[in-house]
């Protein structure tokens, strides 16, 4: 128990003793909150003021969190501190899991603040709209971001462990989130059905933030229920992490 406390403390010091994570956190907070405020202040009837739609801009924060997780992990390979870590923790796996817990916890808290903050800001901007949290689905939209962000951070750590290079891993996660998931939609015929299974689309489905694109693009009916989609998203994240940890623990450092 003390050993794991020590490792969590070490990873916490690592994460917060450089500037990049602080910048990432600031952007991951300001970007979704700012866009949400703009949407609700300026958008017309194409974005109806619902609780689910208060989470439309959360994807921006999620992407920046992904960048944070990749930087916190892959930069350790670039700077050689991963070797120092393995020198101090030769069994390796506990140190890698401690990093995942710390980055994941930061993600969970960030998700909570972004989810709740976006909803609160939208309510302020449009006081006349009924944005009260009536149903379980409403609560899922607002609080569920915490789980989505948690598993996003886990996925980021996993991808960074697999690729071991800041430039490579950042390129992959940015191209994936900003380009590939959307481009799939333009494949004629089965594109829309593949899109149903894209991981971040699944995350949006869980928090009910998919309505915007879903309506405009006439997607087929959701393949899974909200919790099914969360399970699917979590399974992909954990699989990436497991693969990354396994490979890193066996490879020569």
């Amino acid at each position: 128990m003390t050993a794991s406390t020590n490792l969590l403390r070490a990873e916490r010091i690592k994460l917060f003793s450089t500037r990049a994570p602080w910048w990432c956190l600031a952007i991951a907070l300001v970007a979704p909150l700012g866009f949400t405020a703009l949407f609700f202040a300026l958008a017309g009837p194409e974005i109806p003021p619902t609780v689910g739609n208060t989470q439309l801009a959360s994807g921006n924060g999620r992407t920046v969190l992904l960048v944070l997780a990749v930087l916190a992990t892959a930069s350790e390979f670039n700077w050689g501190t991963m070797r120092l870590t393995f020198q101090a923790v030769p069994s390796r796996v506990p140190a890698l899991l401690a990093k995942t817990v710390v980055v994941g916890a930061v993600g969970a808290v960030l998700g909570l603040v972004v989810g709740f903050g976006s909803w609160a800001l939208a309510s302020l901007v449009q006081p006349d709209a009924d944005l009260a949290l009536h149903t379980g689905a409403d609560w899922r939209s607002v609080l569920g971001q915490s789980l989505v962000f948690l598993f996003t951070a886990v996925a980021g750590v996993g991808v960074a462990l697999l690729l071991r290079s800041v430039a490579f891993a950042l390129t992959i996660v940015l191209v994936w989130t900003q380009v590939l998931e959307g481009v799939v939609l333009f494949i004629p015929g089965f594109g829309k059905h593949v899109y149903q299974w894209m991981p971040f689309h699944a995350a949006d489905q869980f928090v009910g933030a998919g309505g915007f694109t879903g309506g405009a693009l006439q997607l087929p009916a959701p393949a899974l229920g909200p919790w099914g989609y969360l399970g699917y998203f979590a399974a992909i994240s954990v699989a990436l992490l497991a693969a990354g940890v396994l490979v890193t623990s066996r490879r020569d450092a």
Partner: protein
């Protein structure tokens, strides 16, 4: 104590470390010497469990490194002073490393003081000079007050003052009974620092022993003798010792200068010069490692 037995590591077709067996004793500074690319750094990584050997084993105080609990408390190592995040300050760099092994922040401040970096502890490492980075690396190695210390090329890039500081530190650590294992590709620096030597070339052991034995074994290249009575000396030496003549001087091997002097006196040969030839230590080392390289690739040479 560090004990390597038949340690072997291959990277693809290259054998970086080849059946390497050696011992580094406690209470001694052991110099780990070899040309660049001889396998020194690979051996260090094998000792620390960063790489897995293909064959053989290496024990630190009788235990494989990967089985040590809180290994920083047993083994301190600086393999590369550039293993740090440039945007993190020196104190935080030591704090996270200390935390992994449950070492308190109080010790971080102690080792910062030990290496003279207290005043720049809160400065980001990217502003450190090379010498300051080396000191930070040494501070990191000292965190757990370990019985065994490993340093890979610790004097690289240091000014003479820094070199002298490290030499004194290594001696002091060994005098406290610790095992100090320090690599270098520069023999003159090692000659002043190391008490024992492990010399490798092409991943193989070339020499293991004390520095004194190494010097005695390699530095006597013969005795130079000049005399106006060359005929008398030649007659006296024939059958007694090996010798060559060039430029009016004899070079005698296999006989020390005391005996040669007596021989010349008995033969009635006046001596104008009688001087042992002390080959430079560096040359002896180069000869030794050069041979090893040739033995390793007989096909390429012939």
């Amino acid at each position: 104590m560090i004990e390597a037995s038949a340690l072997t590591k291959r990277y693809g077709a290259t054998t970086a470390v080849n059946e390497l067996t050696f011992t580094a004793r406690s209470g001694r500074v052991t110099g780990f010497l070899g040309p660049n690319g001889a396998g020194k750094s690979t051996t260090m990584r094998l000792i620390l469990g960063l790489d897995r050997p293909d064959a053989g084993a290496v024990l630190v105080d009788g235990v494989p490194y990967r089985e040590l609990d809180d290994p920083l408390r047993t083994v301190g190592a600086m393999l590369d002073a550039t293993w740090r995040h440039p945007g993190r300050n020196g104190r935080d760099h030591l704090r996270w490393l200390a935390a992994t092994n449950g070492i308190p922040d109080k010790r971080v401040d102690e080792v910062l003081a030990l290496v003279g970096l207290t005043s720049v502890g809160k400065t980001r490492v990217l502003q450190y000079s090379l010498g300051m980075q080396q000191r930070l690396g040494i501070a990191a190695a000292m965190l757990g007050d370990p019985r065994v210390l490993l340093f890979d090329e610790p004097v690289n890039g240091l000014d003479p003052e820094g070199m002298a500081w490290i030499r004194q530190l290594l001696h002091a650590l060994a005098a406290e009974g610790r095992t100090v294992f320090v690599s270098s590709h520069l023999l003159p620096e090692m000659a002043q620092t190391a008490q024992d030597l492990v010399v490798i070339g092409r991943g193989r052991l070339i020499y293991q022993g004390t520095m004194e034995e190494f010097i005695a074994q390699t530095s006597e290249h013969g005795v130079r003798v000049r005399t106006p009575h060359a005929d008398r000396l030649r007659a006296a030496l024939t059958g007694q010792a090996e010798f060559t003549e060039s430029g009016g001087a004899f070079v005698v091997s296999g006989m020390d200068s005391d005996r040669i002097g007596q021989l010349a006196f008995d033969a009635g040969a006046t001596l104008h010069e009688l001087s042992p030839i002390t080959g430079s230590l560096e040359q002896a080392y180069l000869d030794l490692t050069h041979e090893a390289v040739e033995f390793a690739t007989p096909e390429a040479v012939q």
